[in-house]
Symmetry: D2
Subunit: 294 residues, 4 copies
């Protein structure tokens, strides 16, 4: 099979690894980024520098991996851009709100472009390795069109339905569960320590018994050892994700009491200057509540 | 090595499996239970029927596996019983409060008996298979004395320190994390469903990616499928465990906001008649809050 | 002193009473409203119909009383309108966000118009009687300019500072306290009833002892009698106010745990179809949590 | 009408004022207290020193005003004492649990003694002035028997039913509302201050408008001025009262989300060493959460 021509927008740490894997798989990839440095880096890895966003959208498909709703709205939900586009499908792989997905779906439909939401699980090294888990939703036709791209970037695609917002909901729910796990361990470790149990002993036992897997051992260690730097995922991004869950909840009238506790805890952390730390630093809030030393 | 003589109190579903493994390992096990039927069952499996609690405490070591603090206090924290005892060590393997552990430790010390707290992780089939995870704390000497018993009952011993209450703290923290995981998934599944995502799809993806292991797949399925019966662990026991965490927290001045949400959710479930269901039925509360059909 | 010419935007139930009092006090009042009926009603009471918003802003001062942030942004934060305006001062008496107040203050300053925030306490009959409590903030000069208008509309002006947002903060904090009082009584009445105490007895005692005043007796009776209709203030508006508090809190990194509980409770109420009822209907959520009959 | 003979147990700051008013009203009052000093003080004011608790219960009626459940259980729920008693009625005016009221009611009934629960609203100066609000429940006959005593001690009696526990429920609900009001103001003042509004300005406006009465002005000032000493009512007593509400809620399956937030906030305050301060010091927790200076 000959490769596709793919426009790629958003060369952050995640985007670079993803675009590189599209190149490796034999696709012709035209990349665009707000700042020029990552473009040069990608050109060195075999991509072409797009001549503006219109050039990105003059491809078989567009993949975007932007930071948040605001960036997507400002750059991509542009009627002029979409009207001129020849791309058949736009795959938005960023973690954005359900509301944005719904707006984007409608707007793309208006201009005859398929819109797929495909947020991913995995950090930059996983993106680089082409081993992302891809949570996808969109029409069967659009999904089929971008299946070769998914194959290049991910280890598995998880399907959630025909409406793009479903994939965003799944991603938001996953991040919500991550935040819940971190706060749970933060409270448990404070409880343990204040009652004379070493948090590291607790976490070692937990991840060796009921809670295997990367979340409880990885975040558990960070919480137990109070190791919040370097940040793998910064605290304000964690608050953003909790807010995405709360917003999706509010729109559908779903109270999320754990989500509310999380929001208050993240605000508390930010009020104490932990905005540059990993979101595991929400554990410092649990310690402070209990009067445990920082 | 020749076996020990072991007194065993408390032949519930867990206790029977545990006592049977002590018998199999070659120990002489004298069992006692409030109701007589399980005693007969254990005698059929090679144990001896103890002639009252005093007889249980006339052994090398005593293992107890009673339902809760009240049962332990009433039956075992009896000065007359302890004064007459010849047992060198008492291993309390039940999930009880930190406060009880502290009282028991002091009282046993008064009568020269070693006291070990060794609550376990695992359901009855795991106890029967001798594959329990044992969370243990007590003096080095006492722990060494009962090591052969642990070897017969468990797959691994996790050590938490020299004060028995440390093991109870670890167990209470573990159960707290279980309850948090259930509530987290309950909220996430309500959020997902109200936004058009099938909860079973969500749980399948989660347990196939970030959250492997028995908790997220097992309880996740129960939550996603609203399958709360038959109860593996009844809701009021779940509330008891949350209350143990809150009490241990209060004693050490550790606020547990997730714990507070859990307590309210379990009360809500009980107020709606779900006391005979599995504690996963707390998910029905999350659904009700969101107006989702039962 | 001869009267001022006043442009008035927003003739809802509150605005009509307020504008009428400006007319009575001898001011020349030019009114504008999105729908025409209230304009006719006000003309019958002595006001003049403005010929569009530009005409409203061709006055000594402008008073606006619109429904929410969106209406203010769309109608009044219009550079063309403000550029052409001859009004020296704009008094925004609506309950809007702190963020909007800050944007409005900056934009008005750009065009040399004083901006005063002056949200009010009181329902329509109080507005009609000219007995509102006015919470005001703005520059001393701007406040002095509109003092005669305040005198016509209110019983007292409470000053909060020179930055308009301060008055909005005070109003938002007040509404937050109202919502807290309602939820507090809702929980207390459920606790009382489930323990055999008539909620009406409880509320009668409370308002006759520690909690005099309109809030505990008025909302208390509604809660105790489960009388949520007719709505004096609809539930979605209550949620809007709680969200204003949470947003002002998030912007300044102030966690509000009671606010978070309120948000969840209001969402629960909306999920159960109580959107047309008074916000006192949040008490139905407290009853439902406890399994008390509707 | 000639006076009654009254046994009085518990001469704390409240009890002294109450007993003195019984003396003033012409009753013969035999007082007992664990420590002797207050007895001497009351004798100087016209009371008689009782010769032990049996002597207290050899009266027409007994009034008790002890610190908590534990004191009542240890001193008064004594079968030997009640069996020998000639008193027709025992009025327990302390703030105790609903569960204790139920046990006490049953035990007194067994010995043919009427049991009335009559907790009060008011601080020591109010008790001294005979101006307490008395929340009463018990059989009509028992209430009638002690009516002259209420007349001497209180300004008004509020009736809640025939089961003593009803009055305790009403008192517990009232204290719960007080705690809610304090936390509400704590959050509102933090919100205000972080957004540039002086908390004292906010509280002055609130108590001059929607929230008149002693709670919002009194506690409001303490919160706004961060004046937590001297303590009128110490923080651990506040936590005790919140726990009474939560326990009464748990027994009747009534979740109290505000109560849960309160409990966590009081624990946080105690973890930070504020146990000797007034319960208004829970406001320091709200400030700390927001990173505001102590």
């Amino acid at each position: 099979m000959s490769g596709m021509t793919v426009g790629f927008v958003g060369l952050g740490a995640m985007g670079q690894g993803m675009a590189a894997n599209l190149v490796k798989a034999g696709h012709t990839v035209r990349v665009w980024n707000r700042s020029p440095e990552p473009v040069a880096a990608m050109v060195a890895r075999g991509a072409l520098a797009a001549d503006g966003l219109a050039d990105v959208f003059a491809a078989d498909a567009v993949v975007s991996m932007l930071a948040n709703d605001t960036a997507v709205e400002r750059l991509l939900l542009d009627p002029a851009l979409l009207e001129a586009a020849t791309a058949g499908t736009h795959v938005n792989m960023a973690t954005v709100s359900v509301a944005l997905a719904e707006r984007a779906e409608a707007l793309h439909a208006e201009y005859g472009i398929g819109y797929v939401a495909a947020p991913v699980l995995g950090r930059p090294p996983v993106a680089e390795a082409g081993e992302l888990n891809i949570l996808a939703a969109g029409s069967a036709e659009s999904l089929a069109a971008v299946e070769p791209l998914f194959a290049a970037m991910g280890r598995r695609v998880w399907h959630f339905g025909e409406r793009p917002g479903q994939a965003n909901t799944a991603k938001i729910s996953t991040n919500f569960l991550l935040a819940c796990a971190i706060e749970s361990m933060a409270e448990a470790c404070s409880l343990a320590e204040a009652n004379g149990v070493r948090p590291t002993d607790l976490i070692e036992m937990l991840s060796g018994t009921l809670f295997p897997g990367p979340v409880y051992s990885g975040y558990g260690s960070m919480v137990a050892e109070r190791r919040y730097e370097p940040a793998g995922f910064k605290l304000p991004l964690g608050l953003k994700d909790v807010d995405l869950a709360l917003s999706a909840g509010a729109a559908a009238r779903v109270p999320l009491p754990f989500g509310s506790v999380l929001r208050d805890a993240f605000l508390d952390a930010l009020a104490h200057g932990d905005g540059e730390k990993d979101w595991a630093a929400v554990a410092a809030v649990a310690r402070r509540r209990a009067g445990l030393p920082e």
